[in-house]
Assembly symmetry: C2
């Protein structure tokens, strides 16, 4: 299926500030993380990924400069989600490949604390983002 509503963007700044893409990316990120966590724990489960986890994942990446100064966790997480939606809609990655990438990094078990899991998930999401940087358009300010 081609997505009729999808538009290519000419700048990363436009993507990270697109609230519609962020909303769409929110459920994509939650679905992929839920699948990855289910794989790692070997039983079906689901998770709402916290803003703080995604905000930490996008900080210290080259794309962070496109968000604007002093972005709070909500804005930074929205940016992350918008980028993931953009990648997926654009055909740069499938649900399966996203999950597979997350699973490789998701060194958690059923005893992991919420804090530990959050830190590990942040690293997994950061690596996923860095792996897709070449698919983003112009990242200059």
């Amino acid at each position: 299926m081609m997505w009729g509503f999808f538009k290519e963007h000419s700048s990363t700044k436009d993507i990270v500030r697109n609230k519609g893409l962020a909303k769409l990316g929110d459920s994509l990120v939650n679905f992929c993380y839920s699948l990855a966590k289910s794989e790692v724990l070997t039983k079906p489960t689901g998770e709402k990924v916290r803003d703080s986890v995604l905000a930490r994942a996008i900080r210290d990446t080259p794309v962070y400069a496109s968000i604007g100064r002093r972005a709070d966790s909500g804005v930074a997480a929205d940016a992350y989600e918008a980028i993931m939606a953009y990648f997926w809609l654009n055909g740069n990655g499938t649900i399966e490949s996203i999950v597979s990438n997350l699973v490789q990094e998701l060194d958690i078990d059923s005893d992991s604390s919420r804090k530990e899991e959050g830190e590990i998930a942040s690293r997994a999401f950061r690596k996923l983002l860095l792996g897709g940087m070449s698919f983003l358009p112009d990242q200059s300010e």
Copy 2:
């Protein structure tokens, strides 16, 4: 990707009462509905599908009997979400086919009220469920 955590179930009752599948199905349903709504409104957007919408979708279907008596909206919505997760994990439907089915029924526009959209969405989700009934295991009590 084969899902290592996925187990076939021998009864529909086991599926609709599986809380892990319901959690996983929650983000699947939200993602598919968000994509369908984006297609219909021709711009990216996202939506958390309310329990009441999914509960209404599963009532008056043959599978409702598997849930148990006097299920509240939360329990009925969980059952719906668990079934969708089961279908998808089992390969009975892709994201694209689910979205395509929803889009066909989703006669909304940007002026639709929340109530109207909810009723239309319920019908779309009911039709989607009825279309997949043959993929469910034993539905006897």
